[in-house]
Each structure stands twice: as C-alpha cells, then as structure tokens.
C-alpha cells in the first residue's frame, strides 16, 4: 500500500462527499477550518477502514492526527504496515 494513494483517495472522498463543490482539498488542508465536524470525521475514519481494510484504533485518533488528510493518511498507512 502506498501512502500517496491513501492521501489521494482520502482527498477525493472528502471532496466528493463532505465539502461543497468549489472547495479544493489538498493533503495539507486544515479540515477543522473547513468546518468538518465530528460526524464528518467519523465518516472519514470509516471510509479508510473500509477502503484499505484496516482498523484505526482510538488512541491514534488524536487532534493532531486528524487535522489534515495527510496526517490521517499517515496513521492509516502505519496501521496497514502492522497487518
């Protein structure tokens, strides 16, 4: 599994499902600034778990780790390497 692919898939998911049409999502985009709420963050975690067949444990989901798509993807990548 490639970290860049996770980042790209995640940015596409956020763009197509969670944010308004004209919003660009980059791996470094601050998700809280966009107004992504608890509900959206859970959708993101569930998307990654389904798509990449991993489990993101509660302890890795810190505020800093869910701040950007890049950070969340890094967590997902790290979990995938454990399996």
């Amino acid at each position: 599994m490639d970290l860049k692919i996770i980042e790209s898939e995640l940015c596409n998911f956020i763009k197509e499902n969670l944010v308004a049409e004209n919003i660009d999502i980059l791996p470094e985009t601050d998700l809280a600034v966009l107004g992504l709420d608890s509900f959206s963050l859970i959708e993101i975690v569930l998307f990654l778990e389904r798509k990449f067949e991993i489990e993101l444990p509660d302890e890795v989901l810190t505020t800093e780790n869910v701040r950007t798509a890049k950070n969340i993807s890094a967590c997902a990548f790290a979990e995938s390497q454990k399996n």
Binding site: V19, N22, I23, S38, F39, I42, L46, T62, V66
Partner: protein, 422 residues
C-alpha cells in the same frame, strides 16, 4: 418567486403545533449578538432594505397534501422588516428580551431589534424555525448586521430536492425500522405533560473560560478520541439520570434525538430553510457504569448510525412525510415512544460561531443562542463555542425542573464537564 420546502422544514410545522398545544409560544429561535461598530442602526436598516432580505421577508409557506411537496412563495415584495429599538433598564438583559409570536399563515417570519442595555448595543434576531434552522438564522443575522459582507441569491435559497421517490421510499422504510427497534419503550422525560401550558420558561447560560474549555476538551479526549459531542451528551445524560433518581423515578429509557447540520462543509449555502436531520441515542439504566462508558456507548451509537446512514434516511423520511397531513407524521414519530419526542433536547452547534469575521467595521463581541422554548419535554441544552470558549444555553420550564433541581443540575453538569474525578 416560488420554490419547494423540504421535509425538515415541514417537521418544524409539527413542532410548532406541538409547542402550541403544550406551551405558551411557537417554534421561535432567537440569537442575541453583542456588537460594536460605526453607524450600526443605518447599516442594519440598509441591509434589511436589500432585495434579498425583503424577498425572504415576503415568503409565505404553503402546505399541499399529497399532490406535491410544500412550497414557499412570495407573490409581491413587502416593505422591509422594521428595526425596532428597545431600551432594557433591568439588571438582566436576558429576562426582558422580546419573544414575539408568528402566524404561519402569513409571510414576515423574522423580526429584528436593536437593544441598548447599560450603554452596550445588542442586535436581537428572532425568526420562526420554519424559515431558518439555527445555523441559517445565525448566518442571516450576521449578514444583516454587516459582519458577513455579502450574500447572494445562490447562497440563500435552497435547490429543489433531487432524490428519486423510489430511493426516498427505501430510505424511509429503513429509517422507520431503525426507529421502531425498541417499539413500545417508555421514555422518561423531565416534565409532566399535563399543566405544561402554564409553566414559566427560564433561560440560563453557562460560560467556561478558555482555560476551562481546554480542560474540558482534554477530559473529552481522554474518554473518547475524535469526537466531542458524545462526551457533552454523556455528561448531560448523566446529570439528567441523577435528577430522575433523586426524584425516585423508576426510569427505563432515555431517548435523545440530536440534530445534525446536513450542509456540505466549507460552504454557507443554503442559508434559508432547515437542513438538519437527526442522530438518535438511547440509554438504559445498565449503560450507566461510569461517565467514560456512557461516552463510549454514545460514540459507538454514533458510529453505527454513520455506517447505516441514518441521518440521510431520516431526512428522506421527512421529505416523504412533508406530503402527508401532520397527524400522520406525528403518529409515526411519536408512535414508538408513547407520544414522547425526547427525554430532553440536546444540540451541539460546533464551531459555527467560534471565530466571527470581526475584520469588518462591525464586530461581534459575544453571542447567545435562545433555542425554541419547548415546554415538553421541558429541558433543552445547546452547546456552542464562541472565541474558543464553551457556552451552554439551558432552557427549562418550571414544570420540568424546580429552582433547586436546576441549581443542582447545573452544578453537577459543570463538575461532570470539568472535574477529572467525575
């Protein structure tokens, strides 16, 4: 001008009916903004006189059973909403705020006040919940005072619903099945329904400093990662359960529908209309082992509902019911719970008003949400953030909580949110 209303709008008519049956007021939301800036009164009048504000002021709601969805229509452009001035001389501004009524058979579903209180200026925006949800009301109020520089027609008016009726029906069936899981359960709430009409309504506010807010968020993160709402709801439910136990109520189930803003993130549109669906949380006596277990239980319920897409499905169900008479909708929503909407109403507005623009000539110095005064179940708690400080608006009736019960509830809630030991 004419466009369709959605199912969530029509649900507000049901709430209006229920509130009028049980209490003194309709389904009215209020937002009080403490403001600072130049020539405030003229700025506000100019905005109220804008074509956009007049169009919204001229809209009237029409329900059309079975044939089509309900719709909004403005046949003529009315004069602008007047800006009323009010001087409040008492000790508390909150106790003397106007709470006017609205007639849903007419247009003119919002009102504006400029209030002077102890040499300070406040803007009070009052609207019928049919016209705006809390987020929409807040955005429009900020536009009216000039804190949001501009809104155009595309930002304000909603698009017509697009989902095919077959998909709506499938969603509605799934939503009904989910709601009926515990059909027949008895829901415990704060107020006794009878006599609620005479019950006086109190609004109280709890504000936490930035340091306290950081402590609360840290405690929340120690209990559950990623989300804060389930922690806030757990603290509230725990105090509510203790209230029932102090009354020696042999309670069986708590039921809490929690509104979720369905707008796509990164956008304010559409400002007008209700764009909310609901998550539904159930708690039973065995769930209350400790605060952490309740918070985790609620988070698990939330994750399950995200997986099952219950908010989307409930919104579809509301869309279908918008074509039916209200009594039918009333029967379906309250049928599984013996006529009770909720144990108490809870919402978390998140970061919507946390960092107002404040880079214009008008600044918002403070803000208070006044949720609709639901006399049954008689207790509403709204969590919001303003300038990185957590704020709670608590609305209760005398029937739901006595003064001493309220004081205990507030103290316990504060401790549950803040203290590491609880």
């Amino acid at each position: 001008m004419k466009f369709f209303a959605n199912g969530s709008d029509h649900f507000q008519v049901l709430l209006e009916k229920q509130m009028r049956e049980n209490g003194q007021h309709g389904n009215v939301g209020r937002l009080l903004l403490k403001i600072d800036g130049q020539t405030i009164s003229d700025n506000i009048k100019n905005r109220l006189n804008s074509n956009l504000a007049k169009q919204i002021y001229s809209l009237k709601y029409h329900a059309t059973w079975f044939r089509s969805a309900p719709y909004w229509e403005a046949k003529e452009l009315l004069n602008p909403c007047p800006l009323k001035s009010k001087l409040i001389e008492g000790e508390s501004i909150f106790a003397e705020l106007p709470l006017p009524d609205f007639d849903l058979n007419r247009a003119q579903l919002y009102k504006t006040y400029l209030i002077e209180f102890k040499d300070e200026k406040y803007f009070l925006f009052i609207w019928h919940h049919l016209l705006f949800d809390a987020r929409g009301g807040e955005l429009f109020a900020r536009f009216i005072i000039g804190e949001i520089k501009s809104l155009d027609r595309n930002d304000v008016f909603p698009d017509n619903p697009k989902k095919h009726w077959k998909d709506l029906l499938i969603d509605a069936r799934d939503s009904k099945d989910f709601l009926m899981t515990d059909r027949g359960m008895v829901i415990n709430s704060a107020a006794d329904k009878r006599g609620a009409k005479k019950s006086k309504i109190h609004y109280k506010f709890l504000k936490f400093s930035r340091e306290e807010t950081i402590r609360i968020q840290k405690k929340s993160s120690n209990f559950i990662r990623l989300v804060k709402s389930p922690f806030y709801l757990a603290c509230t439910a725990y105090c509510f359960k203790e209230l029932l136990e102090k009354r020696k109520v042999d309670w069986t189930s708590l039921w809490m529908p929690v509104p979720q803003d369905q707008r796509l993130k990164g956008s304010i549109k559409p400002v007008m209309g209700n764009h909310i669906s609901y998550l539904f949380f159930r708690l039973k006596p065995n769930d209350f082992k400790d605060l952490k277990s309740v918070a985790q239980n609620l988070k698990n319920q939330m994750m399950y509902q995200v997986k099952q897409k219950t908010t989307t499905k409930y919104a579809s169900m509301m869309t279908i019911f918008a074509r039916f008479p209200l009594w039918f909708y009333d029967f379906i929503t309250k049928g599984p719970t013996h006529g009770v909407f909720a144990s108490f109403f809870f919402s978390d507005t998140g970061l919507s008003l946390n960092q107002p623009n404040n880079n214009n000539s008008i600044k918002i110095l403070d803000a208070w949400h006044f949720p609709p005064a639901n006399t049954y179940p008689g207790l509403t708690i709204v969590y919001s953030m303003f300038k990185d400080q957590l704020k709670l608006s608590i609305c209760h009736t005398e029937d739901s909580l006595s003064d001493s019960e309220y004081t205990t509830f507030e103290t316990k809630l504060r401790n549950r949110l803040l203290d590491d030991e609880t």
